[in-house]
Amino acid sequence: MKKTLYDKLWDEHHIHTYENGYSLIYIDKHLIHEVTSPQAFEGLKHAGRDIWNKNSIMAVPDHNVPTIQRDDGIKDPISKLQVDALNKNCKNNDLLKFDLDDVRQGIVHVVGPEQGILLPGMTVVCGDSHTSTHGALAALAFGIGTSEVEHVLATQCLLQKKSLNMNIKVDGEMSKYFYSKDLALVIISQIGTAGGTGYAIEYTGSAIKNLSMESRMTLCNMTIEAGATTGLVAVDDTTIEYVQNRPYAPKEQNLAEAKKFWKNLISDHGVHYDKTINIDISKSSPMITWGTSPEMAVNVDGKLPDLEDEKFSDKRQDLINAFNYMGLKEKQNVNSIELDKIFIGSCTNSRIEDLRIVADIVKNKKIAKNIKSAIIVPGSGLVKEEAEKEGLDKIFMKSGFEWRSPGCSMCLGMNDDKLSEYERCASTSNRNFEGRQGRLGRTHLVSPATAAAAAIHGHFVDVRDI
């Protein structure tokens, strides 16, 4: 029988099927951060259980860490307590961890692939919904809650019901300044934030083939915003090129064997998907979200929705709520939206390619006077190091950006990086929910290029025009 990539990954890790239709599947790699793990370690201790496979775990503090004045340590005593708990749990159990003073520290979803700890064909979990990122490596990767973190710690397995298969086939050539972030927003605005619920999504088609590994990660990362916990891209030369020389990647004989294995991580030709969506990207414009759900997205050269068009729609009230929260009006031109802050970072867009794009746009230009703060938070210490080697940090600072240390930062505002009430931000992160970046803060999700252009102009502009 023909199989999809998801079917293959599932079958490879399948241990047992229960009579009730649930399966026990094996988890190869477990990523851990400070926010969703302390209660799991506590539960394990309470039940007197051991960690099944300590080698499967990589830990890194990221959500709750400062991005400035790192040498002073964590000032917020409550945040410090949580990071200390991670340190203690890792130390007591002898787990691999990248500390704040380690150049390899960063956002868990940037660090895992960067180190070659996550590889094609693996099952990967983390107490974090953006674990979907690693589907870009053709790994079966998805976010779990803390109880499941505990379950994986104790058993190396999870009870799962198999998802349905969805194929999102993207064809056409992507125009300059249209990035995989824009593509993610096109998809989410088309299928909705619950469109992928119950499915594992595989991205196929010529446009996906042409994406770099980092761009694929951006796309798979935001799969959860379309409601699917898993987003996959099949293995090709780009995948193998990316993983093969990473520090923890297999070497020599193992690498040769692994490559042979990885090359089979593709969907069989002509396989049936439960649902297929075709998207032609050739005429697409860069996107911005205007509302309080990632599906509320429009073209950057367009206007906000007209309530008249939604007269009989059950979405009308949601739009009104979003206009009110965001302080915007129907039919408003996107380029009339003025900004207070710019955030470039997060597990969606904080890799070196993202930073190069930003540098290219802001070079020899100054950020607009109305921008109160513009911060760039690299995804890891190694991304930071590379950017500095290329001189990008100097370009950013000369333009008026702050150059920070790695962490989740203003994506969710658990540390000091957040929006004040009613502040409006162009953000390269993944969620624009009410209060996400700070109570009553207003978030617009965009690509790094669109955020950079907005920083220079003080309002949204079509990056293709500058």
């Binding site: 009730n20 080698n55 109880s147 929910f433 009410e434 109570r439």
Partner: protein, 212 residues
């Protein structure tokens, strides 16, 4: 985990779709290292007119009188009814802990996000997914009449003096709640199969099992 028992209370209703876990429990409360005490901060940004932080005395904060949980007619509700795609966004299980700590035992919606739905069953919270038609029936019953709803999981029924609805739930999920099953103990019964799998795979794909 505590066994799920029959619930019979008024149902608190919020007419809103896509309620995300950031709204259910905002980020500043995720700094806690325990599983309890989140109830005071359930829907914190909507429920209070002033900002709050972990460790504050929340009873001193000014409440939003228009927010449904502050409406006295919903006092004592153990059933929450909310729109489509409830629990979307972040995987934070704190959302389920907050709902439970507040006193909810049942959430009724027309659809749930996958990770949230899964997290419910690890904590004894029953999410009931209803077809649109039945969902609308429930709304009608509670919105105007504020009827007491009775949720019986064994029989898979929601009833009041005016309505009687059967709901679907898969057998395994039901069993977990009814018997308060600990998933980890169940899985460890297959310990030998897991070891057998590891032995097989470490020959086939040794790089997956490399020492760090």
């Amino acid at each position: 985990m505590e066994k799920f028992k029959e619930v019979s209370t008024v149902a608190a209703y919020i007419d809103r779709k896509n309620i995300d876990t950031d709204a259910i429990i905002p980020k500043q409360y995720l700094k806690a290292v325990t599983r309890d005490g989140f109830g005071d901060n359930l829907f914190d940004d909507w429920r209070y007119l002033e900002p709050g932080n972990l460790g504050d005395n929340h009873s001193l904060r000014k409440k939003n009188p228009e927010f449904f949980l502050n409406n006295s007619k919903f006092k004592g509700a153990k059933i929450l009814v909310a729109g489509d795609n409830f629990g979307c966004g972040s995987s934070r299980e704190h959302a389920v802990w907050a709902l439970m700590d507040f006193g909810f035992r049942v959430v009724i919606s027309s659809s749930f996000a996958d990770i949230f739905y899964n997290n419910c069953f690890k904590n004894g919270l029953l999410p009931i997914k209803l077809e649109q038609e039945n969902y609308i029936k429930i709304i009608g019953d509670i919105k105007n009449k504020n009827n007491i709803l009775t949720i019986n999981l064994n029989n898979q029924t929601i009833s009041s003096k005016d309505i009687f609805i059967k709901f679907d739930i898969d057998d395994r999920r039901k069993e977990v709640l009814v018997n308060g099953i600990d998933d980890i103990s169940e899985t460890l019964k297959l310990k030998n199969k897991i070891i057998e799998y590891e032995n097989k795979q470490s020959n086939k794909t040794p790089w997956v099992f490399n020492e760090k």
